[in-house]
């Protein structure tokens, strides 16, 4: 009876968004007379940071400070349509819609500023700090607040913009089955090291090392946060979570979330993450999305690590101690594979 260490590797390609009905999301951007901008979305931020990222995208596109942008995701009854926050599509799909809306709003803002400064809009630029000035003549400037006031009370203009991102629906080739389900892919590779106890079947995570390629990281700290938390969720799917009973009688299964197993703070392991940035041609500022794919490589890597440790090929999730013990018994004992 012994504890065996094993190492496993897995690589994944992860499509950003989907292509059912074109996967559209809309965004509306408008200013109020104080010169602050509101982005209206129906896309929901569950804590993954979509409000922060769409706020950055809007501010960058408008050329105003990020503090001057507010993102409202409150109500899908009154907001513009969104397919939803899933499939790692938020930053890419919603971000593109916000970018389009902010571009249109910027056009109106520059026209309104041009009228106030009595110049051509094409000669104007933003300084990113809340001012619009004549290119090459920074003293000829007006604040976005004054532009917003002039648009509202003098010129009768709405500084606003509409945006939608829609992928053309991809037909399936009847001969080959070929289609194009996504416009860009993120990639990941993860090495998991585990320790398997051949007496109890218990699996302890020892460490993880990963590399994620996800386009440009628009908010690096939020990306890191997603990758750390998402990998934990991957461990949870690999080793713990199931709504199905895992003992012979269904009555022995979890009845509620108290009995539904998830790894706790004592079950995590060191995880070294490298983020690789290869901007996507059709992403907002090159972004793809870290979303779901941060959990995906963990599962096959852990299964491979268990094989490396004790020689059993687990093909059903979650990989519970009971399943591991049965598999070890079936092959007549642990058979540690060559260390890789």
């Amino acid at each position: 009876m012994a504890k065996h260490r094993g190492r496993g590797i897995a690589s994944i390609n992860y499509p950003i968004g989907m292509n059912l009905g074109g996967d559209p999301s809309q965004a509306l951007v408008h200013s109020n007379p104080s010169g602050k901008f509101t982005v209206s979305l129906s896309s929901i931020d569950l804590g993954q940071g979509m409000k922060s990222v769409t706020r950055q995208i809007c501010a960058e596109t408008l050329g105003v400070p990020v503090e001057d942008v507010y993102v409202d995701t409150a109500d899908s009854d009154t907001g513009p349509h969104c397919m939803g926050s899933f499939a790692s599509r938020g930053t890419h799909r919603v971000g593109n819609a916000v970018m389009a809306a902010a571009k249109e709003a910027r056009g109106v803002m520059m026209e309104a500023a041009a009228e106030e400064l009595e110049v051509n809009a094409a000669d104007l630029d933003t300084d990113g700090r809340g001012n619009i000035h004549v290119k090459g003549a920074p003293h000829r400037s007006i604040s976005t607040k004054d532009v917003a006031i002039a648009a509202q009370f003098k010129q009768g203009k709405t500084i606003s913009g509409r945006g939608i991102f829609l992928v053309p629906l991809s037909e399936v080739n009847p001969e080959t089955g070929e289609m194009s389900p996504a416009t860009c892919y993120a990639h990941a590779c993860l090495v998991a090291e585990v320790e398997v106890d051949d007496e109890t079947g218990e699996i302890a995570m020892v460490r993880m090392d990963s590399a994620y390629e996800l386009g440009r990281a628009l908010n690096p700290r939020l990306v890191e946060q997603q990758l750390v938390g998402g990998a934990w969720m991957g461990v949870s799917h690999a080793l713990f979570e199931t709504p199905e009973p895992y003992y012979p009688d269904p009555a022995h299964g979890p009845r509620d979330f108290v009995e539904y197993l998830m790894p706790g703070p004592g079950d995590i392991c060191p995880h070294d993450i490298a983020v690789l940035e290869r901007p996507a041609a059709d992403g907002p500022f090159g972004a793809k999305g870290p979303g779901e794919m941060c959990a995906n490589p963990v599962l096959p890597a852990v299964a491979n690590a268990i094989f490396n440790a004790v020689g059993v090929r687990m093909d059903e999730l979650p990989i519970t101690p009971e399943k591991v013990l049965r598999a070890i018994k079936a092959q007549g004992g642990a058979r540690p594979q060559a260390r890789r």
Binding site: G47, R221, Q225, G229, G230, G266
Partner: protein
């Protein structure tokens, strides 16, 4: 049903309410005192979202009968900051990105506060032990553990 008078200290302030027999402290805090910072998660003591301090010790308010805290001192997340100044734990949670959806955060902060109050220099293992009754679905715990260790270091630096 007869209501029972109940007096206790709530974040340093004396409060008095009448409670129905059998209600738990979480309900008393949220519905009678109006302190919404302790969260209702599972209602069975399994998630830690409702954690509060009773006389400095961390307790699950969903499993605590309200009547049992008569004359005692209750601390919740609502009393953690000092006016406009965030508690070092809150600042560290923010700087370490230790929250995503935020639902576990009040309980995590109170469990961490109880730890740092009795042990200002905890080891990583002691931090893990202290928050092991609190479930987080988003962060993978690592940023939370780091935030508590950071707050301990900054607390020592100020003292």
């Amino acid at each position: 049903m007869t209501k029972t008078p109940l007096q206790f200290r709530h974040n340093g302030r004396d409060v008095a309410v009448f409670v129905d027999g059998g209600i738990n402290l979480l309900v008393a805090l949220r519905e009678l005192i109006g302190d919404m910072t302790p969260k209702f998660g599972c209602g069975q003591g399994g998630c830690g979202a409702c954690s509060v301090l009773i006389d400095g010790e961390v307790h699950l308010s969903c499993l605590t009968l309200a009547e049992t805290v008569n004359g005692r001192s209750i601390e919740t997340l609502d009393g953690l900051k000092d006016g406009p100044n965030l508690h070092p734990l809150q600042r560290a949670f923010m700087e370490q990105f230790a929250a995503q959806c935020g639902y576990c955060t009040p309980g995590m902060l109170m469990a961490a506060k109880a730890l740092l109050d009795r042990n200002p220099s905890p080891t990583r293992a002691e931090v893990i032990e202290a928050i092991s009754g609190n479930i987080c679905r988003c962060t993978g715990y690592e940023p939370i553990i780091n935030a508590v260790l950071t707050a301990a270091t900054s607390g020592r630096a100020r003292a």
